[in-house]
């Protein structure tokens, strides 16, 4: 009789151990995916920050008197490029930079020569492309953060998460707007 009880206990322990290993490996895999997704965003943000000095120099050549706008962009870029920020802080800094860049591009509307400058157009295009890459990376990163955070907080993986010190990851929330599409006819 006792033999069967011992066998049953061993079987239960093996099942629990297998589940714990699977749950732990799943959390590690998700955490690594989140970290890898963040590194990809970081590369694109770096690229964005690298483009800005050239952009400012180009605009300066046509709009010297707009010192305040140009300095605001440089200041926002310096803050955003400083290392050591968490995803939430980085998002806030990037939003500030986006606003400053918005003012810079609005200013460019008043300078037709600047708007026609090939270097300016190329930089603008490259910046848009980089921002699209950041936005795509952000969606992938946030989706994985959402999955990881849900696993960490839900039963029964919450036990494994607490036992091995898995913590919630921060979202990277930046402003992203929809663009309008034209109509198509024969």
């Amino acid at each position: 009789m006792w033999e069967w009880v011992v066998i049953a206990l061993v079987v239960i322990l093996v099942i629990v151990a297998l589940w714990a290993i699977t749950a732990y490996n799943g959390l590690v895999r998700l955490r690594n995916l989140v970290q890898e997704a963040w590194r990809q965003i970081d590369v694109e943000l770096q690229r964005r920050h690298d483009l800005i000095p050239n952009l400012v120099e180009t605009v300066k050549g046509y709009a010297k008197h707009e010192r305040e706008t140009l300095e605001a962009v440089i200041q926002a870029r310096t803050v955003a490029a400083a290392p050591g920020s968490s995803p939430a802080q980085q998002a806030e800094q990037e939003n500030m930079l986006t606003q400053a860049l918005g003012r810079l591009f609005a200013l460019a509307e008043a300078y037709p020569d600047l708007k026609a400058n090939q270097n300016f157009l190329q930089l603008q295009q490259e910046l848009t492309n980089t921002e699209d890459r950041v936005a795509a990376g952000r969606r992938f990163y946030n989706a994985n953060v959402r999955t990881l955070n849900t696993r960490i907080e839900t039963f029964p993986t919450v036990f494994i998460a607490n036992m091995f010190g898995f913590t919630r990851e921060e979202y990277f929330e930046t402003h992203e707007a929809a663009r309008q599409a034209p109509n198509v006819q024969f």
Partner: protein
């Protein structure tokens, strides 16, 4: 005197008498359905011919090669696959192609009788600037959703409404999230494309809906396809950056 056996006999006789009526009724129903199907098909062919003539489009009655154009659902399943009424041309200067795609499936009931079902879809596709991994967007149609579920796992976005209305399966989740820009999500949430599925496969984006169309909705479908193509970020077609250390 009552004759119960006579009454039963009369009832049995009446029941047998009704069989020829049922038989005739079934024949009439089959003829009506056949004529209706024939007239419907002729109306559809006439409507297609009118659209083709009015818009200077190309037309081919049938092409077996088209059934292997794509491998995602509804393609690659069933037998006797056919691609009929292939129509191609340009709309607002941009190319498209559409055709009626059908295949047959067999099912067996508990008594071992087999029945054949023909599944028909209208497939419309437009080219993409470069090939992408397969991404399938399956809407609120149960059959299309069942077809879309073949392989892959559903993907969640930040839009609750989108997650409710669409299921997304992809070979590469990174690419699927990149495609799902706010503009793409907005477009897929518009009511004019209810009952359709969209698939990115290779260098094409196609849409399919149940039953063959008379092309009356072609401008809407091609318009929706190009709305989506235009909203896909350009960098996806460029591939990874050369100096990108993380790719």
């Amino acid at each position: 005197m009552l004759d119960p056996f006579g009454a039963v006999g009369g009832l049995v006789g009446g029941a047998f008498a009704i069989f020829p009526l049922i038989f005739v009724g079934v024949i009439v129903l089959m003829v009506v359905l056949g004529v209706r199907g024939f007239l419907g098909a002729r109306r559809r062919r006439d409507a297609i011919a009118a659209t083709v003539a009015a818009n200077h489009l190309g037309h081919l009655a049938e092409d077996p090669a088209r059934v292997t154009y794509f491998s995602s659902p509804p393609f690659g399943t069933g037998r006797r696959r056919r691609a009929r009424d292939i129509v191609w041309g340009t709309m607002s200067g941009r190319p498209f192609e559409t055709f009626a795609y059908s295949y047959e499936t067999e099912s067996r009931d508990s008594e071992g009788r087999t029945s054949t079902t023909t599944h028909t879809f209208q497939v419309t596709w437009v080219p993409l600037p470069a090939p992408l991994p397969t991404v399938r967007f399956t809407g609120d149609n149960a059959l299309l959703r069942a077809l879309g579920k073949l392989g892959g796992r559903d993907l969640d976005t930040e839009s609750h409404e989108f997650n409710q209305r669409w299921k997304v399966w992809s070979e590469d989740e990174r690419v699927a999230h990149a495609i799902l820009t706010p503009t793409v999500i907005d477009r897929l949430l518009r009511r004019d494309i209810v009952g359709r599925a969209f698939v990115v496969e290779g260098a094409a984006l196609y849409s399919y809906a149940q039953s063959a169309s008379d092309l009356a909705e072609l401008p809407l479908v091609v318009g929706a396809l190009y709305d989506l193509v235009d909203a896909i970020p350009a960098f996806l077609f460029e591939g990874p950056r050369e100096a990108d250390p993380a790719s």
